[in-house]
Symmetry: C2
Subunit: 306 residues, 2 copies
């Protein structure tokens, strides 16, 4: 049997250790574990990497601990404004959506755009109209309400600052998954609620193919999380592919160079998850931590935060 | 004196020769010439590449023949929905805007986002709110009305098709500029009204840093035009940089490889303008034509369509 595997993340940066109570930590780990294993089972049954990453991300979107879907942060207007993207490494087709409201699973919308529109990227009201045509599930604002996100917004409004996911420390909420299936196909997906108290229709790297998400069977699949503005400027996800393709770097070397050198040089905090066409997994980060989990057909489930 | 230069484009693909009357052709050439020389004069006086590309693109946005700003196509709802981006090769800071209405000069909004926000990309109503805070000029719908664009929409609505810039043949309306200044700094900018009869908040490559626009003093500055969905999937602008940086390709070789091979292989029609840090200019296209003009401190003004 050909090696297969999957890795997921629930955002870079972490809560202060004193704020991460055993109960909270348990909830994060439970969400990461469920997301990972749901995707892994698809791969084990011979399913596609594309379906695995979509389903793993949907589990995280449906969980209220992560900044995507149900647990998305509040923007300045007290709304949840979400971005997502997905890419199929077999043919490099891709779908992306930015600034949508009330769509239960933005990653599913990205996949529908990829498979059922002539386009790669849709945004705002127009994207929601497409979601309705495709009969995707919408939820009211109440579904997206979480007390701790609301408290974060109040703190951010009080300080008149746009804030990262959590006010208490740098935490970049995003979720993502990358997978290699038994047919040798790679895929990647990313989804986020962005920044607490964000204004002006701000879009980060998560919905940008080549910045937050990229997959190519020739090289690797990547999903990023971090201070999106920096990831956008240096095309983090595509750059790792380019280093492998054009400079013959191994996945590990390319990841180290981009995350620990290029991003650090410009002050870009965050990390990413990556899997190559051989099933090697890397989860580099230059932030305090990265909520992550991984499993391959050869290795046991691993869940880590710091 | 150090060599400097600028190139601009007014979109890939061309009208059928029989439709391009001498009057129309004269108007296109006049617009291209004015745009180019306005930017060139800035460079000649020692101004920055960044200012030159912004001003050259503004001239094309203010001209009603090109699909950007004033001449932007109508979307399905009969509105003008515009995208733009700009990048400074000296420090790789960038600004981008998508799906804005009634902003007179989207490229100027992209530059304001780059220089006066914490962000790279803003979209929709939020981006317009930011434009108002920055006191940018807005115009009413009438300003953007052009009879031939309106006729294009009626034809597209009649055929129930989303269409490229012109219904009569494949024409991808976008405008852009790339420049090298006397200090050795590169910059690139792109602006578009997208596709006639477009729906669902469709976003192409023009506002995506790394896809439609990229600049890096180490390599080159690029502005693309074409069927955006294909340019998005293979990160055309960043890919040319990566080939130069990682495979030591010359500008010409990298441009040929990406436009005439990689894009052609996936069916992606269009072209781009490029200038490298030595002042070499390339304007490759795999479409019938590319509205373009160029001039360096060593060479005369050249304007070409086919």
């Amino acid at each position: 049997m050909k090696k297969f595997g999957i890795a997921i993340h629930g955002g870079a940066g972490v809560m202060r250790r004193k704020d991460l109570t055993p109960d909270k930590e348990k909830k994060y780990r439970e969400g990461l574990s469920r997301s990972l294993m749901t995707g892994y089972e698809i791969l084990e049954q011979g399913g596609s990497a594309l379906d695995a990453v979509e389903v793993s991300v949907r589990v995280l979107e449906d969980h209220d601990s992560f900044n995507a879907g149900r647990g998305a942060v509040f923007n300045h207007e007290g709304k949840h404004e979400m971005d997502a993207s997905i890419m199929d490494g077999a043919n490099q087709i891709a779908g992306a959506v930015c600034s949508v409201h009330n769509v239960r699973n933005p990653v599913l919308l990205a996949k529908e755009i990829m498979l059922h529109s002539e386009h790669v990227m849709l945004c705002g009201d127009g994207a929601e109209e497409f979601a309705r045509e495709r009969k995707l599930q919408f939820e009211d604002d109440e579904y997206f309400f979480t007390q701790h996100r609301f408290d974060q917004l109040q703190r951010a409004l009080g300080k008149k600052q746009m804030q990262l996911d959590d006010g208490s420390t740098k935490k970049f909420g995003t979720v993502g998954a990358v997978a290699l299936d038994q047919s040798g196909n790679l895929a990647a997906a990313t989804s986020t609620g962005g920044l607490t108290n964000k204004r002006f229709g701000r879009v980060g790297d998560s919905p940008i193919i080549g910045a937050g998400t990229y997959a190519n069977n020739q090289s690797c699949a990547i999903s990023c999380t971090g201070h999106g503005e920096y990831f956008l400027r240096i095309m983090v996800a595509y750059d790792i592919h380019a280093l492998m393709q054009y400079k013959n770097m191994k996945l590990k070397e390319a990841c180290e160079y981009v995350v620990m050198k290029k991003l650090v040089d410009i002050g870009g905090e965050g990390g990413l998850i990556a899997i190559d066409h051989l099933g090697n997994i890397e989860t580099p980060f230059n932030s305090d931590g990265l909520y992550r989990a991984k499993k391959t057909s050869d290795t046991e489930l691993e869940i880590d935060i710091y």
